[in-house]
């Protein structure tokens, strides 16, 4: 079970207080109508599944209910960092 630092509450909490909301940094296209079916399909359905570093969106569901990003190693389950929405990760996959 992961031990997750909530950047809004400012302390570590147990994983059971959180939900993972999938891959981070999936921006909604600003002009959906300008997207082809294929582009929209990419936005909707296609996600990374890396072995190693992954940027994920999490929400502190049972706590402050705020979303934040997490960079996590999918192999070792190490959490490299958490950062707020709108911020960019400082640890990225090579």
């Amino acid at each position: 079970m992961l031990h997750i630092y909530c950047p809004h509450c400012g302390e570590y909490r147990e994983e059971e207080e959180f939900h993972c909301a999938g891959q981070a940094h999936i921006a909604r296209p600003l002009e959906p109508e300008a997207c082809s079916d294929q582009e929209w399909g990419e936005y909707l359905f296609f996600r990374k599944n890396p072995r190693g570093l992954h940027h994920e969106l999490w929400v502190h569901a049972a706590g402050c209910r705020k979303f934040f990003n997490m960079t996590r190693d999918t192999q070792s389950y190490e959490i490299k960092e958490v950062y707020k929405i709108g911020e960019q990760p400082s640890v990225v996959a090579e």
């Binding site: 809004h8 509450c9 400012g10 302390e11 909490r13 147990e14 059971e16 207080e17 049972a62 706590g63 402050c64 209910r65 705020k66």
Partner: protein, 223 residues
Amino acid sequence: MSDLNNMTAAESAATKAAVMNQVPGPEIEGQSPLHHADLASLAKQGPKTSGVHLRELKLLGHLTLRCNPANADQLAAVERVLGVALPLQPLTSSENGNYSIRWMSPDEWLILVPGLETFDIETKFRDEMPGHYSLVNSSGGSTVLELSGENVVELLKKATPIDLHAKSFPVGKVVSTLLAKSTATIRRTGDQRFELVIRRSFSDYIWLWIQDASLEFGLVVEA
């Protein structure tokens, strides 16, 4: 009943948000979420000493305020209304007499006030608060349980993954977290005393849970 309570929707909308005195006259008794458990009778019949004490702080006014902690005008307005500042540090609380404020989220606070003052305070907020904010009366949706006693920490440790050690959970700290298979906002009010804000619909489950989990310590219900 006040005029405000009887104003039409259009009139109330003049305030941009609908505000309503939701409390009827004294002839109609409110039923707190644990009304059916008849805690008052249990308090009379039950044991007087044990490791865990429980009391429902019922029918309080619960107001959820959401605003911008960086907006000094809003912070000043809160202080004018409640006589106490919003706790801006995460996981802290503040209080002034019968008013207490719990930090819930970077832009959210739960304000507890005496039940009959709720509408007054709501109205004052509507008069005083500038800018973008929301104020929601949630008094019917939750209740407060006060748990105390020498085994209260042990009891709560069975329900919540939060570290309750005094070093990491001093008096005044507030967390919203899991409580068994439900949730609660827990505030420490003494070495061995906590207040739990719980949701109405889960209150029977939590009441059952507390009774079951406190069997090894004994449970005193206080009126």
